[in-house]
């Protein structure tokens, strides 16, 4: 089988509040024989908030990150939906606007870099599905997740806006996404259907609009619980922080106790591949993963 090699843009969260995401990503890459080269030079993507403050600055910083993947001649994979959105958005804007690209490159030249547009940017979820292939993944499953009802939570920035995602990411329909469902099935699990699976978790408004954010988290968790899910899985560490850590405020906001273990996408794959809980960092979860 072809050996896959990518430049991994970890983002900030995987190096701080969700160490289990980086750990499990590296663990499954190892099991699947995928080589991930860490982009240690990369800076924060701005998380759509630096973009509100200073558009030019965020373009330059994101372009710089992509430059390092280009230097390696590799596709950049992301493990955070918001990193994916901001990086892909930067790429799209620079690739379609030569004037803007020249302006950004003028800045990058000061540090000896040039953005060319030669590296693709895709979320690890889609790299697994499109490059590695779900059939090949199924063949490697040693512990099928058949006893679990698993609720996929897609996270906005991997699926919307579809115009951008069609170019660089999975290209699935945001009103009826299937990638995470397909991945659950490939891992032998039972995918659970519920209305909130492609909705917002509220993360980006958590500080400035806490009630809105908490209700959205509550809606997502209660939807999964009502659909009889044993746990949730998400490709986004920001959604994970909201769903795993904030169940108290979510429960309070919607007037109902909502608490459900939430796994990162690579943790779910890791369980199916026979990784140990420690290899996947399951001990880091605030809502305890009590089923393994």
């Amino acid at each position: 089988m072809e050996k896959f090699r990518y430049a991994l843009y970890t983002g900030c969260t995987a190096r701080e509040s969700t160490p289990e995401l980086l750990k499990s990503t590296l663990a499954i890459a190892d099991k699947l024989g995928i080589e991930l080269v860490l982009l240690d030079e990369a800076s924060c993507c701005g998380a759509s908030h630096l973009q509100d403050y200073d558009d030019m600055l965020s373009l330059v910083l994101n372009a710089r990150n992509i430059c390092y993947a280009e230097k390696l001649g590799l596709t950049m994979v992301t493990i955070c939906n918001t990193c994916q959105l901001n990086t892909a958005m930067t790429k799209h804007r620079l690739d379609t606007n030569p004037e803007l690209k020249a302006k950004v490159n003028e800045k990058l030249a000061e540090v000896g870099l040039e953005y060319k547009g030669t590296s693709e940017v895709t979320h690890f979820l889609y790299a697994i599905i499109q490059d590695y292939g779900l059939e090949n993944l199924s063949k490697k499953v040693s512990v099928p997740l058949s006893k679990f009802n698993i609720a996929p939570f897609y996270g906005c920035h991997n699926i919307r806006p579809s115009e951008l995602q069609n170019l660089s990411n999975g290209g699935e329909n945001p009103y009826n996404p299937t990638s995470l469902d397909d991945l659950i099935i490939a891992c032998g699990g039972n995918n659970v259907d519920y209305d909130a699976k492609n909705k917002c978790c509220g993360f980006h408004a958590e500080l400035q609009s806490p009630r809105t954010a908490a209700v959205l988290t509550g809606n997502a968790l209660s939807g999964a619980i009502d659909a009889n899910a044993d746990w949730m899985v998400t490709p986004c560490p920001l959604c994970h922080l909201k769903l795993d850590v904030q169940h108290h405020s979510a429960s309070k906001a919607i007037g109902r106790e909502v608490k459900l273990p939430v796994l990162h996408m690579p943790q779910m794959v890791g369980l199916a591949l026979g990784c140990t809980p420690a290899e996947l960092g399951l001990q880091h979860h605030v809502t305890k993963v009590n089923f393994v």
Binding site: Y175, G202, H204
Partner: protein, 325 residues
């Protein structure tokens, strides 16, 4: 000529009459549809062949009046523009037709859009300019200036984005994507004299742009590619550029990213919350922070990871920054 393809589709149709019904209900119709039909054709067929009491709004039939917007399987669409075969491709052959907002339904697919128009009114959605009533010359707008509107004037006020916005669903004071796009459309117009007033309106806490959850639903829902979230981001930028950003949790949250990146390349998550909330405000996050710390999810300041080649980031921060707070 292409062969006419047909297919059987089950339609679940939302029914409700505010004057006589306590709860809404759904009628089911199984129809053979052909590949050139749009949703409006189906509504017409149901009304004309099955139930004349079905109510919905329709007018131009050319995707420009914006009156026929409804939802199919949760996706906001213009009934006159959405081909059934495209919808079947996404959702299969069971389609649920509902009004844009079920809670605002008056009769079947007709909703009360008063909240939508009120939000529009809030942002003064017209050109405010002191121009001579009998000008001798046109007020020129050169192409470069016209481009600054970024398609914001393509909005047909159909409400698709407004009724797809989850922030608005929860917080009814939030102005919402359609009115924000309108605010941008006039604030970005070189002829307009009320830009600053409009920016003040969208700068308010709870109502303004700061409460956007960045879900991108508005960009997805818009049938005219207005991309409201892009305009919301522009309004954020304009607020900072105009120097009217207030010193509050929302603005500090945006600016805090720049401070962190300057120092570490990466975001210092704990410091961002402290900086945004202030030394006292941050205390309310302590219970969660403690839970996170217990589970190894908090990186202490002295262990904060840094980007390799941080000097490059620092240099770029200095040379590429375009605003000050």
């Amino acid at each position: 000529m292409d062969e006419i393809k047909s297919q059987q589709v089950t339609f679940k149709l939302f029914r409700f009459n505010q004057e006589t019904d306590y709860l809404p209900y759904y009628n089911t119709y199984v129809l053979d549809i052909t590949h050139e039909e749009v949703i409006l054709d189906v509504l017409n067929r149901i009304k004309w062949d099955h139930d004349g009491s079905l109510s919905y709004r329709r007018s131009c039939r050319h995707g420009i009046c914006g009156i026929c917007s409804i939802k199919v399987n949760g996706k906001a669409i213009l009934a006159c523009k959405s081909r059934l075969f495209d919808l079947i491709e996404v959702f299969g052959t069971e389609l649920t037709i509902e009004p844009l907002s079920t809670k605002r339904a008056l009769k079947d697919l007709i909703i009360d859009k008063e909240d939508f128009w009120n939000k529009h009114e809030q942002v003064t959605p017209f050109l405010v300019s002191d121009i001579d009533e009998n000008p001798t010359l046109e007020t020129l707008v050169v192409p470069h200036d016209a481009e600054k509107l970024l398609e914001a004037d393509y909005c047909i006020q159909c409400g698709a984005c407004h009724y797809s916005c989850p922030a608005l669903e929860i917080n009814d004071r939030f102005i919402g994507p359609a009115a924000f796009a309108a605010a941008f459309r006039f604030a970005a117009d070189v002829r307009d004299d009320a830009s600053l007033e409009r920016l003040h309106v969208v700068n308010e806490e709870a109502e303004g742009v700061w409460d956007c959850v960045k879900c991108m639903e508005c960009a997805e829902a818009c049938p005219k590619d207005v991309n409201p979230i892009e305009k919301i981001t522009k309004l954020h930028n304009m607020i900072f550029q105009a120097g009217i950003a207030k010193d509050n949790v929302a603005t500090r949250h945006a600016v805090g990213f720049a401070h962190s990146i300057q120092k570490h390349g990466l975001l210092d998550e704990g410091e961002l919350v402290r900086y945004s909330e202030g030394n006292i405000g941050v205390l309310k996050h302590m219970p969660e922070a403690f839970e996170m710390w217990k589970n190894g999810k908090i990186v202490m300041p002295w262990n904060m990871p840094k980007s390799k080649n941080l000097d490059e980031v620092k240099k770029l921060m200095k040379s590429s920054s375009t605003v000050k707070f």
